[in-house]
Assembly symmetry: C2
Homo-oligomer: 190 residues x 2
């Protein structure tokens, strides 16, 4: 059983921000240590390696996406309702974990095997959930689009890049953001 100490959580949080701002490769363990307020060598009392930090960030967020979607959907939701809920769940995760989302979406490539393959597998699984959701709506005749793969990628593109521009202290709450985005997306395929 792995215990995540408070300090380890703090290190991960700061690393998340730095990896997002400067990129994983351009963030040194010395950079990280300085922000944490200790020496670089001390980091290794809490984490095994730089890559372990990246791995933790990526897989934690992957799980957050799955969990949020699973908790949001009800078996008897109509297709448009399910799509709306899935969009809002996804937006919710991104908007609450902006930096982690940036790392999740771009820095995973610096994972080494076998983490890399596991990560890509999770991403694909998640995409398949969305594919099924869209297909159901199309089969029922309530969604209209030319190509399934394009529609899924289109939707996820719009959702994912929210991390790049949403300002949590700006004009809109996460709930309002979700509502606006799901409106634009659902109208796009109805």
């Amino acid at each position: 059983m792995e215990v995540i100490t408070e300090k380890k959580a703090r290190i991960t949080d700061i690393a998340t921000r730095l990896f997002r701002e400067k990129g994983y490769a351009a963030t040194s363990m010395r950079d990280l240590a300085q922000e944490v307020g200790i020496e670089a060598a001390s980091l290794y009392s809490h984490v095994k390696s730089k890559e372990e930090i990246l791995s933790r960030i990526c897989f934690t967020l992957a799980e957050a996406f799955f969990t949020a979607q699973h908790q949001a959907l009800q078996p008897d939701d109509s297709s448009p309702e399910a799509l709306r809920k899935a969009v809002e769940a996804h937006v919710g995760v991104v908007a609450v974990h902006l930096s982690a989302s940036g790392v999740f979406l771009h820095e995973w490539r610096h994972l080494s095997e076998p983490s890399l393959s596991q990560f890509l597998e999770l991403r694909q699984q998640y995409e398949i959930h969305w594919l099924k959701l869209l297909r159901r709506g199309k089969d029922e005749g309530v969604f209209h689009y030319e190509d399934e793969a394009i529609a899924v990628r289109h939707i996820l593109s719009a959702l994912n890049w929210i991390y790049d521009w949403y300002k949590p202290n700006g004009r809109y709450s996460v709930a309002q953001l979700s509502a606006h985005i799901s409106q634009l997306i659902i109208q796009g395929i109805q």
Copy 2:
């Protein structure tokens, strides 16, 4: 007058692919030299620095976006027509310069001043073009959306991330891709 030799163009092309695949920071001049087929020191007969290569990639693509949009739009286009043309112009640039788009969208942060500020200024200018386009449609009553800033960001998010999933040798041509995407987007705000 700057002359871009064939070899410099080749170096830039290979660097574009490597920066896209591994990221700017994680791509060494030795990596680049090896792919070009020369020694690292020889690169400096053709380019001033690693950053000059990045700068060239980013600004060349920025210009491509402006040019494509400018050439696509006619003064008497209706709003939906103008939006469709702008989407297709943007998608065209991304789809034809997939790797460069990835670099443009993510690696610009490694530019140093004053290039960095110039680049961000161009990005903002481009976004303003889109804002005006949407506003005109809303004023005419043909576009419907809650918030302008969100709508613009939503559209650009969907367009930009095409670089991440479009396969040029796959099922769809660039023209077909453009058509599908613009359909999804325009329907989303009508």
